[in-house]
Symmetry: C2
Subunit: 157 residues, 2 copies
DNA sequence: TATAATTCCTAGTGAAAAGATAGGTTATCT
DNA sequence: AGATAACCTATCTTTTCACTAGGAATTATA
């Protein structure tokens, strides 16, 4: 029950891209530098995000990426669905009718999975990229909260 | 973001075990037959469930398993935690302080994961084994809902 | 008391998914 | 022309998943 690096990196990348504009797009190189994510891996994450319209790209020198729609219209759930597939704890609730089993999923656990899926989507679709950006500016005003000279690793999420 | 077979099989096995009693325990063989799960694999799932006190075992001939506590006191979340580890979409919210990162997880996504974790636990701990048993008797009174002569696979969840 | 039925313990294995790397092509700015 | 960047496809390594396997210990019962 873990979010994979695809989803986590994707969200962090999108937060960076949200700061760019059509006339001043951000390059993969730049995202890679600030977020410490392999350029080559990032490339692979941005392809599906572009396909789904969440980002647009500008090719050639001085090119890069910028959002394909307003930050308030892109949710964390959108990004995860694009990069990891349907948000569903088991296949029979992923929205594809063909994945339902012979009992029409009338097994004792079906209700649990259904409710779980709904709860997860409610949270993930409840946060937009804009919310995350606001969160960031909030953090910058309270840097003192950062643990000093810590042995702990940089955040990987 | 999927529940693995360990969790899913474990829940189905526990529903069977919940029907047994201390004086009439259910054997792995029997669970395996009705739930179509490999005996050897089931063995491995029951070990940790026993360790955590959710089941008790009776060794030797006519032995088997029965619940270690009342069905209403065992939740789906309990079973999943025992078989799959902490219910946490990312490591930094799994309850282990050592997994928190250098920024004390003050990254823009932390709030999302925290809320997601809480929502997931609320659902999963909101269903007890007893609830699932009740669900089952409910189904048996409306078998007509089962899809007739379907090509669909048997339920694997 | 032998035997069959059962849990218990540890190890191994095959396939798939995750998490990247790598090489090269195409487009665009300066 | 050259540098910079996106784009495309393939490959590779590591880890996890899902299961298999062999045998030891325990206990009812014939």
């Amino acid at each position: 029950m873990k979010i994979s690096t695809r989803g986590r990196y994707g969200i962090r990348a999108m937060v960076e891209i949200a700061k760019a504009t059509a006339s001043n797009p951000i390059a993969i190189r730049s995202i890679s530098d600030t977020q410490k994510i392999s350029e080559r891996y990032l490339e692979q994450l941005l392809a599906p995000l572009k396909r789904d319209g969440y980002v647009l790209s500008v090719r050639g020198a001085a090119g890069g990426y910028h959002l394909g729609k307003p930050a308030c219209k892109i949710t964390v759930g959108d990004i995860i669905r694009t990069l990891e597939g349907p948000i569903a704890p088991v296949d029979c609730v992923n929205g594809d009718e063909n994945q339902k089993c012979a009992f029409n999923c009338q097994c004792v656990t079906f209700k649990v999975w259904e409710k779980l899926k709904i709860a997860m989507e409610q949270i993930l679709d409840g946060f937009s990229l804009q919310d995350l950006l606001n969160e960031e500016t909030e953090f910058s005003t309270k840097e003192h909260l950062i643990i000093q000279s810590s042995q702990k690793p940089l955040c990987q999420n």
